[in-house]
């Protein structure tokens, strides 16, 4: 199934895109998806959100349609 991966802040430079659609296997975790599409990406430096909610890197993406890489935030 297709999932959209959004990159924010410096992860846009690391990944080279702001958003891109990837195909995702049932049971895939965010960590597995990133390992496949961006093998050098350091998941420890980022949080992951699925459909706008913070999730665990190792929980299945399930029915999620939009993943977002959330590096340390700095609003205000």
């Amino acid at each position: 199934m297709p999932v959209k991966l959004l990159a924010f802040a410096h992860t846009r430079d690391v990944l080279g895109f702001q958003e891109r659609v990837f195909d995702c296997a049932p049971g895939d975790t965010p960590r597995a998806l990133l390992a496949r599409v961006a093998p050098t990406f350091d998941c420890a430096a980022c949080r992951i959100a699925i459909d706008g909610e913070y999730r665990d890197w190792d929980a299945p993406i399930g029915a999620g349609r939009e993943l977002a890489l959330i590096p340390p935030v700095s609003g205000g």
């Binding site: 802040a9 846009r12 702001q18 959100a49 706008g52 977002a68 935030v73 609003g75």
Partner: protein
């Protein structure tokens, strides 16, 4: 509690002060201003980006949670995105409450939690704009 959450690309326009009830005793307003020096470097301004849909949901939920401990009557949140020059506001929050205690604690906690968890980013260069 009345809540408005706004992201804007232009200068923050402060909404006129309206008091929805006659029991409001305290209004607190906060402006976060872009400073010339950030981590010792001189800037002309900062670029802000946000994951707007998530940020809005996170803020709404956070305000509802804070409301339990610090009951307030209204909160108006505005964050500017894009380039914000030094000396201009990137953030504006107004809190209306019956008493000042709740209003001040709500405001302080809201800013702390926004800075910890809400997907908004500042940068001294316009990341991703070149893509």
């Amino acid at each position: 509690m009345e809540v408005t959450i706004t992201f804007t690309q232009g200068v923050i326009v402060i909404p006129p002060l309206e008091l929805p009830t006659r029991e409001i005793g305290a209004v607190v307003e906060f402006y976060g201003i872009v400073r010339e020096l950030e981590n010792g470097r001189q800037l002309s301004g900062l670029h802000y980006t946000a994951y707007e849909s998530m940020a809005e949901n996170q803020l709404a939920r956070m305000f509802a949670e804070l409301q339990k401990a610090e009951p307030c009557i209204a909160v108006h949140f505005i964050h500017r995105l894009g380039f914000v020059p030094v000396g201009e506001a990137s953030l504006y929050i107004r809190v209306l409450a019956v008493h000042r205690g709740e209003a001040l604690r709500f405001l302080a906690a809201a800013i702390d939690r926004m800075k910890a968890d809400v997907p908004i980013w500042k940068s001294d260069r316009s990341e991703g704009h070149s893509l």
